[in-house]
Symmetry: C2
Subunit: 190 residues, 2 copies
């Protein structure tokens, strides 16, 4: 149960048998179908989600009605609306499965408990959050420093398999342009 | 020495005397003048900076030559270009003092060491990074969900003193509009 998360944790910190049992009892693993929502605007984000297999995305809808994907989470990434999750207040985001996805989740009422009972998880989540914050700093930088076409090729070079996996309109909104623009770039390359 | 950082750490975790001595020996406190740079594009980010007093900002210059401030750090906040700091590669950002600023810094060659020698700091930095990542998720959200004027008033309500402290053009670039637009909004309110 929750095997993949434990393997991921093991890369960063060593949990003993007791820690593993305690953590197991506080986790929840489940599956969601493609397009299913884990969070919708106005709801409170109940959990921090770890992707075992599949893909989740965090997005919001702007005042003009356009979707903006700000984060994807594939295998071994965590995703959550932290403001809503930490303060248990209504979210301004959506979290949706862009593929059928297997998830291991930590619900809010267990979140502080895991750190109290298993202090070694502080290191694991320090590293997870450090990576997430670093990626988010770079994403903003690239949104402004490259042309749309450069951004697509840069991203395609870094994550070629991922680019094939997600629907065009989601990828376009993540890279900060329209689906039509993405089609044009792709047409050139074929 | 480094008193304010220790007081900030104390809010989140308890360091014993030995921890305090070890950490003290690995920190560096110093002052920078207004407009002085701690990092310029192309340089490697040498440290993670904690603001004791004053204000630092992280910004970049886009392909059109415009400045974009993505983060401010005032008292008790940390600031760094994480990609450059963690991987010791040339930065695509600037870190500049927007006021005369007192700083306590952890240099890169001591960064892993502090966690190895003082595991309790994992909790402190997990919470610092969690807060930074949460703030960054919300900033992106607000950039798209509010009009420029709404964004200004929202930010002004949250941080009225801060809005008075920073130069108009920096605040404008953080809020995602031009200095001219900011002058117009302010003129309306006076």
């Amino acid at each position: 149960m929750h095997r993949q998360l434990f393997e991921h944790i093991k890369k960063f910190t060593d949990l003993d048998k007791e820690d593993t049992l305690v953590l197991s009892s506080l986790l929840k693993s489940f599956s969601v179908k493609k397009k299913q929502f884990l969070l919708e605007e106005g709801q409170v984000c109940r959990a921090n989600y770890f992707v075992v297999k599949g893909c989740l995305r965090l997005y919001f809808i702007d005042i003009k009605g356009a979707e903006h994907t700000t984060q994807f989470a594939i295998e071994n990434w965590w995703i959550s609306d932290l403001t809503s999750f930490l303060f248990q207040k209504p979210s301004e985001f959506y979290i949706q499965a862009s593929e059928a996805t297997e998830i291991t989740a930590i619900e809010h009422h267990h979140y502080e408990e895991i750190f109290r009972k298993i202090p070694k998880l502080e290191r694991y989540f320090r590293l997870v959050l450090q990576k997430a914050h670093q990626a988010s700093q770079m994403r903003i930088r690239y949104l402004y420093s490259m042309t749309g076409e450069e951004r697509y090729h840069h991203f395609n070079n870094l994550f070629p398999n991922f680019v094939q996996r997600v629907p065009q309109y989601m990828l376009a909104s993540y890279l900060g342009f329209t689906p039509e623009f993405l089609s044009k770039i792709r047409a050139k390359k074929v």
